[in-house]
Symmetry: C2
Subunit: 345 residues, 2 copies
DNA sequence: CTGTTAGCGCCTTCAC
DNA sequence: GTGAAGGCGCTAACAG
């Protein structure tokens, strides 16, 4: 069943059917109605492939995330999808899994599908991605890309704002030995968070021993490892800030295993504010970086890039702020001398 | 840049290019090599739209989930995607959001994209979906569809197996007042879980007061509400089994708020075994229903449906088992009389 | 305002 | 084993 079938039954030309379906205003309402009647009766749905082929527009956006199983991303996918559907777009969801072979595959997939734009919300600076896509003039929006990549829009995140709040909050609670568990420092976003932490500490005159800076991988297991490492220190930290919520969850879990109570004996702060943070025990104090807002910005960026017929040579810059959300995983530092080593057998 | 361009440069016909690219074995290796050389040099990628149009195969599978933000699903999406990419398929991810308008949109999207098959892993018995799709002879695989829908494959889940284990585990811990927080009972899967609970209780001669059966919505908030309702009872349960992990997380969170300690004062068991369950505090004892396995079965079902030229008139039946995973959210029931009401002010 | 027509990029008979 | 040609379903000129 195709447009010709409809045309025949509605006794009009295929061109008219096409116009009616696409709601071209110049079509006679009478005819349009006749067309729609047949369309509805037959349950006709236009073939997007044919449409895409002739129009040169696939109406598909690539959405690149690190791993859909990381709770940070589903919210983004959800919002992005919402907007896409609303705007008549489909999404080609791609996970890079931090694997370069996989990433080449992803690029291939996106090009083969002739995506109309790509949002890379992956915090991994997947540069390889850029060139190939950019070559084909596909609108791109990134997060945290360092330098000004021409023609590529960028969502810049103000890590400093939220992280400073977190540091000051913890400091106000009289913590002085404050640890920071970072993500992989080769990721610009992870590096930026760590920098923001250091700067914020320096700002209030707290020094941060290098032993209190542990690099991990943004996973829960990483968080567990980090805490194990920290409590093995001669003088343990009384508070630990984490580069993301997953890490913080891992830290809390390890604290539980070690019999260290949060927040009484150890204050924990996360970053991202994934939905689950609120349901942790205790509910996690964390820095909010709105996933829905991020998705919204990315989507809009793409749409506006597309509607701009002459591609701006400087990709647009967008901003996303971060903010501390107080919950119950932080508390006043215990007075008295810092606890030495784990008291467990 | 298209197939003609390649043909010209490789000094062969477009037919040969097409054959080379599609690895038709009868093509002269010499020519094939020449073609591939040009393809690689130019970074040519075939246009899937054109391919789909002419072949009648989109190589896209629809994957319908309830909500990607429900942690149960990302794992499924991940595995399904893995297999899809491996098999040269793309995924059209669709969330139904339990909204019928939205669901019609989803059907439209899938038909417009001419998906080659649809996996409905949504536990919602979205019947509307079936007819329209089935009419177009799109292979379908469902979870827990009640009756035998012709031509539709079905993954049947053995809830009884895991839930019986859970009940017996809790009973062995000397609990007798055992509550069950179900999902929306209009969902076949939720109903089946509740039934499995009741049957398992009956089997060991434990009776279940209707006041201990609370229906909720499979969300964390629902879990919180459920526990609030349960502790308001004249005689509180000492253990609560939940229809899914999200609910269990909500229950634990509410217990925390109420100052009830898990597992000492209240044992909690979940269902699904989402990855997070292991990282809860305390780690959640739950019934495992493998998300990866589910995705794997669904994918294979679709592929095998497609490869079967003459569609079998009875959709195939698949099986997925469930199993209790012991962690630390259950403990011996406290001896002495059951606690009356909440002891909080 | 409507119809006719020429492709969009590719695959696939069919001759050779 | 290779090439020429037709057509997949639709849209976008261009005539009328």
């Amino acid at each position: 069943m195709d447009i010709r079938e409809i045309a025949k039954r509605a006794k009009v030309s295929t061109a008219t059917v096409s116009r009616a379906i696409n709601r071209v205003p110049t079509v006679d309402p009478q005819l349009a109605k006749r067309v729609w009647k047949v369309v509805d009766e037959l349950g006709y749905y236009p073939n997007t492939q044919a449409r895409a082929l002739v129009s040169g527009k696939s109406r598909i956006f690539g959405l690149v995330v690190s791993e859909i199983t990381n709770p940070f991303f589903p919210e983004i996918v959800h919002t992005f999808e919402e907007l896409a559907v609303q705007g008549g777009y489909e999404i080609l969801l791609v996970s890079t899994v931090h694997d370069s072979k996989r990433m080449r595959t992803s690029v291939r997939r996106m090009i083969e599908q002739r995506v109309d734009g790509v949002a890379v919300l992956t915090f991994g600076m997947e540069e390889l991605l850029v060139d190939d896509l950019h070559l084909r003039k596909v609108p791109l929006v990134f997060v945290d890309v360092g330098r000004d990549v021409p023609h590529v829009s960028n969502i810049r995140i103000d890590y400093q704002h939220g992280i400073r709040q977190a540091v000051q909050h913890v400091a106000a609670l009289r913590h002085t030995r404050i640890a920071f568990v970072s993500g992989p420092l080769r990721l610009p976003s992870a590096l930026a968070r760590k920098r923001a932490f250091e700067d914020s500490m320096a700002e209030i005159g707290l020094n941060v021993d290098s032993e209190l800076l542990v690099e991990q991988d943004h996973t829960m297991e990483g968080g567990m490892r980090a805490l194990r490492q920290l409590i093995a220190l001669p003088i343990c930290p009384t508070a630990v800030l984490c580069s993301n919520d997953m890490t913080a969850i891992g830290v809390m879990r390890e604290a539980y295993d070690q019999g260290i109570s949060v927040p009484q004996e150890l204050s924990v702060v996360g970053f991202d504010n994934i939905r689950l943070a609120e349901f942790m025990i205790p509910p996690l104090t964390t820095v909010d970086m709105s996933q829905t807002e991020l998705a919204r910005i990315a989507f809009k960026a793409l749409v506006s890039d597309i509607s701009r017929e002459t591609p701006a040579e400087h990709g647009t810059e967008y901003q996303l702020n971060t903010n501390l959300v107080l919950r119950r995983s932080t508390a006043l530092a215990q007075s008295g001398p810092p606890r030495h080593k784990s008291t467990k057998p």
